[in-house]
Assembly symmetry: C2
Homo-oligomer: 452 residues x 2
């Protein structure tokens, strides 16, 4: 009676990505042009993305075939293991059965390469020579840097300046793969210079870094832009996670009653739950689906479902999503991957349709959960993943209180080997309960564009 791992064979790596858009009862609202505020066409997006990805962004095909060169690279770390957390169950004395999918076995320690490799492939295929992107804590940037090394693409990463200075190791990892990393805001772009003129000491934000990366991408034909979450095609690429989970839960002879994932832009969450949501929409089982966000950046629980920009300089198209406003800057906390102002439109749409239960947890609770998990199961979760761990533990303790033996599956989207400082701060009592500011959110929401 100890932890058990469910392992798939190489041939069990999914052969297609699952597209939730095929099964939705009503389509996701259109993306709007930032100038005309009319629905964008493929040509509007062409300066940013290769046509292969634009087609995926709007496709309503249920199954989109994974190109063989992408599957070949997936084989480096996929299929990823699914575990029964027996030691954690014992520690919690819960009758619940707790399962977790572990994406930290990828070479960069997170789920991000699932889409990074696909994006690099489609860009390479389209003759693109160089990509630009932004990164916060660096999980996405390091995944894309690895993918660009595989496909011999140049990469320029705009890294939020506070992370660039405080977290040199993710930067070192990106540079080791051959990427160029620039602290954002920078003097290289008009967007960056505008910020620096007004705030010379700006520590940056994801919204600013996106503006810089987008501005650099549109300047020539051989450079495109890549985003690590939010967009439909990014969430699509992550659905290999949930497809493998379904197969592995079958091996375990069990079915999840509750699915739990943490949400920043929505990619690891969608990757696990979309294949389950689709099954439910087609008449299959409908597990409860819980989306966990930080109390300090509460998009789904406190934001507004409205059209908004993806970046600070308002260079991106407008998408309808749960947003805190593109000027909202959350208080400093240790889950850099969950600090974006907007949610992936497909996750927002599914939430609006009642298919997802949003909830939020405070950072002290997330670290307490992460420490407990590490001592029980060995793996040290990334601070982002700790949100899912915390919510899974809450559900397991509810089962204990109610005396019900439910089955809980959560996505452990990455390891915390780059985040030890955060754990040390937690143990030293330096972390605080992080509250969002009602005023700041109200102010940011007041600035939302008036469309839709």
């Amino acid at each position: 009676m100890d932890s058990v791992k469910y392992v798939l064979a190489e041939q069990d790596i999914p052969k297609f990505w699952y597209n939730l858009q095929a099964d939705l009862p009503e389509p996701v609202p259109a993306v709007l042009h930032p100038g005309t505020k009319q629905p964008v066409g493929p040509d509007d997006l062409a300066p940013l993305f290769p046509m292969g990805l634009i087609e995926q962004e709007v496709s309503t095909e249920r199954e989109i075939e994974i190109p063989e060169p992408v599957r070949d690279i997936y084989r480096q770390w996929r299929p990823t293991p699914l575990f029964r957390a027996r030691r954690l169950e014992k520690m919690l004395e819960t009758p619940a059965r707790i399962y977790y999918k572990y994406e930290g076995v990828s070479p960069v320690g997170s789920h991000k390469p699932n889409t990074a490799v696909a994006q690099a492939f489609y860009n390479k295929e389209a003759g693109v020579k160089k990509l630009t992107t932004e990164t916060g804590a660096g999980q996405w940037g390091s995944a894309l840097a690895m993918a660009c090394a595989f496909f011999e693409l140049e990469l320029s990463v705009y890294m939020v300046r506070v992370s660039y200075n405080q977290k040199p190791y993710r930067r070192g990892l990106m540079e080791n793969y051959g990427a160029r990393v620039t602290p954002s805001p920078s003097n290289e772009t008009a967007a960056g210079r505008a910020i620096l003129d007004e705030h010379p000491d700006s520590t940056g934000s994801l919204g600013i870094a996106i503006s810089e990366a987008v501005e650099m991408a549109v300047q020539d034909d051989h450079t495109k832009y890549a985003l690590g979450s939010v967009l439909n095609h990014v969430l699509l690429h992550q659905t290999v996670i949930g497809q493998e989970c379904r197969h592995q839960m079958e091996m375990a002879g069990d079915e999840p009653d509750i699915l739990v994932g943490c949400t920043g832009g929505g990619s690891n969450f969608a990757g696990m739950v979309f294949p389950y949501l689709g099954e439910g929409l087609r008449g299959g089982a409908k597990p409860r689906v819980v989306a966990v966000e930080p109390a300090a950046c509460p998009m789904l629980t406190k934001g507004r479902y409205a059209y908004d920009y993806g970046d600070t300089a308002h260079l991106t198209p407008l998408v309808k999503m749960h947003t805190l406003g593109s000027t909202f800057v959350p208080p400093g906390f240790h889950a850099g991957g969950l600090r974006y102002h907007g949610m992936g439109p497909l996750v927002s749409h599914a939430t609006q349709l009642g298919m997802v239960e949003p909830t939020s947890v405070d950072q002290l609770e997330t670290f307490s959960a992460g420490v407990q998990f590490a001592r029980a199961e060995g793996i040290l979760p990334a601070p982002e993943a700790n949100h899912a761990v915390a919510a899974a533990i809450i559900e397991a303790l509810r089962c204990k209180a109610e005396g019900t033996g439910k089955s809980i599956l959560f996505n452990l989207c990455g390891h915390g080997h780059f985040d030890i400082q955060a754990y040390m701060d937690y143990h030293a009592g330096k972390l605080t309960a992080q509250e969002y500011s009602e005023d700041e959110i109200a102010m940011a929401l007041a600035g939302l564009p008036s469309v839709g």
Copy 2:
């Protein structure tokens, strides 16, 4: 034609450890008591280790059953994958077939838990309440900290002071699992105080840290000592690696012509090669076996095969091994796991019998190899593992020069996510070719005890 991973099922985790002592043409020289200089008996070792491990230390049984609770925990990360490095082969334009076993998928990112879990189990079974150990860079300490969390044992780690100060993250990982970490030399022990009296600014060494851990362990009956390499039982526990390799190479339809492992105390090297050496001794195939050590700590290539102490204060038994002398302190370099003065006696014995080819590589060459490997295969190797990568590349390029398509298998014993600073220093041109000092080695060797 891309990298391919060979995955075993959970039931393929080996059921026994393979003991090379069963197949050796002549037995490994006896371990001597540090006082009497006569062969030690089990009772002499009882203050340090539980009887289960002492029996394994001297056993000549070929197969030693892995207890079910240990196998249960192995399932968290075992079987580990074996890869064909097709992208690296292509980059090198070599006709060689390069395979690597990857132990970095364990929760702490290295092979060390293979023995940490076993040692914690046997201690727990014997009623031990607390373990003491030393750690250099922290790979071993973090593995044992995790194992002690699983078995609810207290752990006190003496960490070489220079690493304690410069590498706070491995320390943070150990503390997160619940271990107590003390910089060594410390004021807690007579051995530590003696060093500090003479050198108040001592930055420590593994030999000193071992003295402290041993001194603390022998002070009461409920505390024992644990070592992460060198000893026979430690190397024994690592043989799960090579057994899995044999199975996976069979899946690949290939057989290794050349085996490559890096050597500090010998545990990851022995873990991979001993099952192959045993097969050869029993009349099977005899691949070339290459042991790679740092040019700055050249035990096998420049040391003496002689009886020596395992620690600086000469509290440990005397073992016959390739040694640079227990007072030798190698120059500072970035592979903390390969800085010990002595080699595991079984590895030394096998080398003396001509079964192992020792070689050494310089640290610049190891990092160059590691960067090349990361860009081709994605995984960033630990600096220790870079020694094996470098030697494997040398062999692959020799195949290219000779036009021979040999099969090379090396052990990638851990990932480098805790070692990004070393890579950043390498890229910044701050690392130098590291030379050992002939004079210092001669001086340290002159101090060897006169026995054997």
